[in-house]
């Protein structure tokens, strides 16, 4: 046996280390050429070595560790180290925080879209009809002699096949106005819907609206006045039939006096229950409880649709949720979703074993009474736990970073809005337990902003403490940091 002849494996390691005897290189390469397994092994080991070596050459301690080293020796923090490692620290912070920040931004954007989307139809509705009447071109407008021989512009034929109520209807409506106040103008579309718009007087007297219409509105644009004003054309036709002998087609294509009378009557006359038919045919739940009178009284209705008033007052979006029937309790309830970006004390040395999507988040239901909010809050967040004891005669020390679900009863006091943009400061305190029945308390303070009467944004700071037992000793874990969220009121 030749003991001086190295094994292929030894030559391989020697070659990786750069220590292979040049005299053996030829032999080694001939072995490589004939042995595919050896080639693969060499390739794998080289890859491992390259990766490990690259890591060893580039790894740097975190800036805070360097700072501690220099502080301990009485030196200032090294500028170069700090500069070199601050950026990764910022990046690391961003990587940790991007999810809650992005979710908060997404919630803000969605809410803004909802608010703007729900607010605009009311304004546009009022201005649209004015725009139609002001800017419709002669080609698009068909003037029809009224019964008294006057030409009116109450009937229009729109390029989108939308027809307006004939003049006779308007005449009849004027009669109704005389009886029950100024009726709002109502437009009827051949797609089976009827629209209402602001009364003539209200429109004409508002220079602001007039100017806006002249700039932006087009008669070709379909009318859109919001759900509350919509009514099925077939419903109207039936009402017309009930009242007399008019049909829907009569009302639109042949504006006969009798048909239009009957149709107009269906808009303005009271029904059997005494309510104006045009509005009352909508489900009662559509009507805003706070604006009940505006929905039934034409004058007030017109005022609500007035561009000036609709533009300044926040819209009550509860009317768009017919399933939520008004009650004493419901308007006082709110649902809140918030995120938490907090640091644990003691600091966690290990990560959580699970990584569910719902962590550092809480959802709550609050009952509002004046400036006080009372509610129940459920959330889940990791608490770093360091505890110790004696097991089997040996001292043991445990560390964990336990994802802890909790349920808290919360109280919140909102102070009167400060002058800047109606922002409300608040204080909050909560008491409850984790779902492991460990007591937990939380307190915080922050600011709330209410862009709409149904929506509140809030941001603040909070601290929470969880107490947990081990071997008849109690230990605590604290979390302090930032919270931000969104409340939606019913």
């Amino acid at each position: 046996m030749n003991t001086s002849m190295p094994q292929p494996n030894d030559m391989l390691h020697a070659w990786i280390d750069g220590e292979l005897d040049p005299a053996l290189e030829t032999q080694f390469f001939s072995l490589l050429a004939s042995d595919s397994d050896l080639r693969e092994k060499l390739r794998h080991m080289r890859n491992i070595r390259i990766e490990a070596h690259k890591f060893g050459a580039t790894v740097q301690p975190p800036a805070e560790i360097s700072d501690r080293v220099f502080a301990r020796l009485g030196f200032a923090a090294p500028a170069s180290t700090a500069a070199a490692s601050h950026r990764p620290a910022l990046l690391a912070t961003f990587e940790r925080a991007w999810a809650p920040v992005a979710s908060a931004a997404a919630a803000a954007v969605i809410t803004a879209i909802l608010i703007l989307g729900l607010r605009n139809p009311m304004n546009e509705a009022a201005t649209q009809s004015l725009a139609d009447s002001r800017t419709a071109s002669p080609a698009e407008r068909t003037e029809t002699p009224s019964s008294d021989g006057r030409a009116t512009n109450d009937e229009h034929v729109f390029t989108d096949n939308t027809a307006r109520i004939p003049s006779a209807v308007s005449d009849n409506a004027r009669l109704s106005e005389a009886q029950s106040g100024p009726a709002s103008h109502r437009n009827m579309r051949t797609d089976g819907t009827v629209r209402t718009s602001a009364p003539e007087g209200a429109r004409d007297n508002n220079p602001l609206t007039t100017e806006r219409n002249a700039e932006t509105k087009s008669p070709d644009r379909p009318l859109h006045t919001g759900a509350i004003e919509e009514q099925s054309f077939s419903d109207i036709a039936v009402q017309g039939d009930d009242a007399g002998n008019a049909s829907a087609s009569n009302a639109t294509s042949t504006p006969s006096r009798s048909g239009s009378d009957n149709l107009a009557a269906s808009y303005t006359d009271s029904g059997s229950d005494g309510e104006p038919t045009g509005v009352s045919s909508a489900p009662p739940s559509w009507r805003n409880p706070t604006a009940e009178t505006t929905a039934t009284a034409p004058a007030a209705h017109a005022m609500r649709e007035s561009p000036a008033s609709a533009g300044s007052a926040p819209v009550d979006t509860r009317q768009y949720f017919p399933a939520l029937r008004p009650s004493d309790i419901l308007p006082a309830l709110s649902v809140e979703l918030r995120g938490m970006n907090t640091a644990s004390f003691p600091s966690p040395t290990i990560s959580t074993s699970s990584d569910p999507w719902m962590q550092n988040m809480a959802v709550a239901v609050f009952y509002t009474s004046g400036q006080q909010d009372l509610g129940i809050e459920f959330g889940q967040e990791p608490f770093a736990m360091h505890y110790h004891g004696v097991e089997n005669g040996k001292a043991v020390r445990y560390e964990q970073n336990l994802l802890t679900p909790w349920l808290l009863a919360s109280w919140r006091h909102r102070f009167r809005p400060i002058s800047v943009a109606g922002i409300e400061p608040y204080l909050t305190a909560s008491l409850g337990s984790s779902l492991y029945f460990w007591p937990m308390a939380r307190t915080g303070a922050g600011l709330m902003y209410m862009p709409d009467r149904r929506v509140r944004f809030h941001i603040g700071v909070e601290g929470s403490m969880l107490a947990y037992p081990y071997q008849q000793q109690w230990f605590t874990s604290r979390r302090v940091g930032l919270t931000y969220g969104l409340s939606v009121l019913f």
Partner: protein, 196 residues
Amino acid sequence: MLLRSQHTGSERFADRSDVELFRTIRESPARAETAFRELYSRLAGNIYAYCRCLAWRRDESDDLFQETFARLYESALQGRAVTNVSGYAIKIARNLYLNMQRDKKPTVIIEDDTLSMQDVPHERTEMLELIHMAMELLSDDYREAFFLREFADLPYNEIAEIMNLTNVNVRIRVTRAREKIRGILQPYIAEYEQEQ
């Protein structure tokens, strides 16, 4: 001369060897801090990685790292004769770790600390994480030898000195550690090579 005067203290030390810097800390108190900063910038990466390799737990490895440099500075002030500063620092870290292990109370970790690779660029973490995972399966002796050879790129004789082993013994440990890690990572490496 003007150009030279504009250099920072650290740049002036850039061309000096580790041993010269180590000596400067004692011999020139006015320049001790600058010399130590330069030495720190050269050694910190390797020592930090080594402490992470030894202790695995972040808090322990951070303590170890700080203590190592504090001891290194103290040794320099005391005028200790050192021929290989990097190896000496690694040896300080190793002895501190062994002392720490000896004095340590028994600890049970409920949740394992998966090694954080935040210090490494993202694109390289996958393979490195695999290597670190495989290293966790090695015994302490093999892991340390493997680290000093493959990560710190120390020659075998220095590793032998640090670990108080013979050169042959270190080679055996490194070779076996490589074989084991390669065996563990074989399926992943093939995939990694395909991606590369």
